[in-house]
């Protein structure tokens, strides 16, 4: 395995993004548990989050809007990173996030409105663990999914 094919990224960037994502997902859960109007608002927020995950999963986290916020506002206030990280692990995590919130979107459209709160909640757990504990989905589930034949490549 080599990092030579891909430029390294500041590992604090994706965790900063995960922190914003987890706050937005928690708000989505709250909205998704309310009345019809509130749930619709939660659904719209989940659509926005899905779009953001899609950007990260296709263009990579360094082209994600959060990465620009991080570079402009946060990184100038921090010391230089002690090490750079491979951008592929957070890209994989974005794809998993997209998959999970998409289930909530599909369930809502199919008439099960609690799908928004339930799958926003599931995505929240992963995003929060990433932000707060440096939990890495690529480390934990990628190989298992690959062994099961669910995914073929990164």
């Amino acid at each position: 395995m080599s990092n030579s094919t891909t430029a390294g990224i500041d590992p604090r960037g994706p965790r900063f993004g995960a922190a914003i994502t987890s706050v937005l997902l928690l708000i989505t859960v709250f909205l998704g548990l309310g009345d019809a109007t509130s749930t619709t608002a939660g659904f719209v927020l989940l659509l926005v989050l899905a779009a953001l995950f899609a950007v990260g999963a296709t263009l990579g986290v360094s082209n994600h809007p959060y990465a620009f916020i991080y570079k402009k506002l946060v990184r100038p206030r921090l010391a230089a990173p002690t090490e750079l990280e491979d951008p592929r692990p957070p890209k994989f995590a974005q794809a998993v996030g997209l998959f999970v919130v998409s289930i909530g979107i599909v369930l809502y459209l199919a008439g099960f409105s609690y799908g928004v709160a339930i799958f926003a909640g599931a995505a929240f757990i992963a995003a929060f663990l990433n932000a707060a504990f440096a939990y890495c989905l690529g480390c934990q589930i990628y190989l298992g999914l690959k062994r099961l034949g669910v995914i073929r490549n990164a």
Binding site: M1, P11, V29, L33, D86, P89, L129, L143, G144
Partner: protein, 150 residues
Amino acid sequence: MTWQLRIELVAALLVFATLAGLVWKARTGRAHRVRSGEQVDLLKLEAIKGGKPVTKFGRRATALQFSTEVCSQCRQTARLLGELENKHNDFLHLEVDVTNRLDLAAHFKVLQTPTTLLLDSNGRVKARIGGAPKPQVLQEELRKLEIKNV
């Protein structure tokens, strides 16, 4: 659903995620003894180090690290084990990318990465560490494999 119940459910989710994180943090990177572990077959492993196939184990101990391409903690673990290897002549660090070696992942029952097997001088598996190894854990395990002054 009332406002109060909604807030309670959101708070419960936050508490649950925090507890899950604490449990994960406490359990990851710990060493588990392996009783009568197998002898690793270097030919089957096809490990490459410095551009050359690896034909010998470390004189006293070898850390065999399984990684994938989408594993950020694998990089940190490789760096940590590499530093230990530089300090100790008797210790060898091997890293095998199992992204496209699912046969090895199945054989060694690797589900998460990094997973590190600690081998004795004969290449026999003595301990297994799931997740990024904690530095103190590594020191203790290497002492057991007679790597001095860790």
